[in-house]
Symmetry: C2
Subunit: 418 residues, 2 copies
Amino acid sequence: AERTWIPVPPDSPFPLENLPFGIGCRAAGGPTVAWVAFGDHAVDLDRLDADGVFASTGLRRGTFATGRLNDHLAAGPEVWSAVRARLLDVLTDPRSADALADAVSRRDELQMALPVETLDYVDFYSSLHHATNLGRLFRPDADPLLPNWRHLPVGYHGRAGTLVPDGTDIVRPGGLRLVDGAPLFGPSRRLDIELEVGTVVGVGTAPGHPPVAADASDHLYGMCLVNDWSARDIQAFEYQPLGPFLGKSFATSVSPWLVSFEALAPHRVEAPVQDPPVAGYLRTDEPWAIDLHLEVLVESAVMREAGIAPHVVSRTGFADMYWTPAQQFAHVVANGATTRTGDLFASGTVSGPEPGTEGSFIELARAGERPIDLPDGTTRTFLDDGDRVILRGWAGGDGTPRIGLGEVSGTIVPSPGG
Amino acid sequence: AERTWIPVPPDSPFPLENLPFGIGCRAAGGPTVAWVAFGDHAVDLDRLDADGVFASTGLRRGTFATGRLNDHLAAGPEVWSAVRARLLDVLTDPRSADALADAVSRRDELQMALPVETLDYVDFYSSLHHATNLGRLFRPDADPLLPNWRHLPVGYHGRAGTLVPDGTDIVRPGGLRLVDGAPLFGPSRRLDIELEVGTVVGVGTAPGHPPVAADASDHLYGMCLVNDWSARDIQAFEYQPLGPFLGKSFATSVSPWLVSFEALAPHRVEAPVQDPPVAGYLRTDEPWAIDLHLEVLVESAVMREAGIAPHVVSRTGFADMYWTPAQQFAHVVANGATTRTGDLFASGTVSGPEPGTEGSFIELARAGERPIDLPDGTTRTFLDDGDRVILRGWAGGDGTPRIGLGEVSGTIVPSPGG
């Protein structure tokens, strides 16, 4: 590994090979700007910009001072690569150590916001195992996969206005659920998570002939973690025939550090073979699956008070997702719909085929039949007030540089309705 | 009627009692500002603001120069009423005629844009007749209404980024449809409209204890017309289990003149009795149904060339919608979701119980079984390339001032894929 003037702990999710960007300010005060995460530290990108570090990159001055990454993402792949190359230079140039010392902050001293402004948010349903698991739970007597599932990446629009940053408390939603067979308004009793990976649009698309999956690299910037909190009882009562709505729209948590596809390039792998073959607009020659490791951890209020570390309830992988980010993108625009910088596509719940690899409690606990044990001696079928859920994700490790997506977490707080 | 210094033709949709706001610029050139429609004219609200007309209203200077109505809508009900009162003064004060002459434009010389920036768009399904008609078409052997329908206003999130202004050409969308039982990508063969009325949020809502339907007047600003263009073949293949997606997301047309609930106040009527009774958060004491008349007109390319006027294919009413705008609002926020200024709730297709009162071609033509005759001698089951569809809506008339929503139109152009 190259020498850097900021130390990077071994196996850090944020080594020189990663360089994810986020938006934040120093908790002690200061402007909200873009940062690049680096080991246990972060470097103020606006400060570097002011110093002329990016002068040769084509980046417009002030791009990192707008309080969102959208302006950088809109600049396109050449600028993204040039900025990344300059960061590699600066972080390995010992002469920068003094000149840029005041641009560096400890990461844990930053207050992070949403990395991008997202104007349209689409949630997909792209894990074969998840779709099969849910199909079996909800339609036990039928083929778990509906006839369209292998032909197109099923998805729906979510509520962009309730995307929330890491650490935001999740208020238990109220809604109409069936209680003893009759709809009754009250706090959800089946509050769940969905472990997902999000893809963020860099360069939007204009009206006209839509781009196809093979064009995705011209448009997609990078990835983050997404927790699509879900109230299963509200969702079950409302979702026919127009899909999920209030069961999802109360909050969706997004991780702070956006990892570029350039950083993830060494971890692109072939997606599972699609059978039947998909339509032309969904085909790619390049591999577009991403070999990510993902984890779900839970910390109850009791564990937190007792100092018991968060407990891993699921370990799973992203590499065998049936539909790739490139295909999700191509599908969104196939009908002529435009996309804008910052648009977010969440993958859908990432679940594997074995017990303990599912990305939601409804799957992990078999809709309540197999409660999950926590180290405080309690069990969970769904989430209790006070529970904190942490999603983690990374590529690499085990001797190769770890390209971490970092974490996203949220703590359940009681419904204001009681 | 009071005397005004700008003449208003009899039965104009935009008399002194209406005063809808829109965003536009003079086609001959000039800044994009807010206008108030008045008879065949419109008055530049930014010009009035610059003249100090709104000095006593609490309106922030420059509100009408931002290229969207959001800033005015965010100002709240007291400012809305005060601005309206000042406009009534100015338009009936003969001394304004000379002083404000250059603020006046003919409406047909304006190029109108979207009236508001909408960050989240929800499409409902609130007409009992429409839901029943579609249920019969899609599930002929079952109860046409699903068990949730009378308990909550069913809805889903649409794509905010493809809301388009009046007059925007609608490109026939491509997508996967079943052809001889197999999915095939190609231009939609069942392109349809949905006649809807939109409600726009003025004052957004913060996290915390959600407002209820009885609070809606504090938040909702006004109404517009919405054409939720729909590709029925794409929709039919994709929509299970997560709802409509590409069958809708290619374009949704929004009318240019936003009519305030203050102007519509004389036309509020009791909604149909809801049985079973709805949950508390959905109840209102005030009447919240709006007695609007609605029309769908079609003009084929042949009719246009031959100078044949657009042909009315549907006349219907909005007063008997099962779910009201106040209930739609309360439902969106019931789970704690926030709303923002400019958020749009579309009513869902407005259909009546009799033939010729349906708000979509799939209903009017019984899914292709009863083609609609056009005056050029052709018939339609769905839309042809070149067809222009115009939606019109108004309250009043017949001796009372007409409170017009104006029109929204779009012309179908061929798919770029051929």
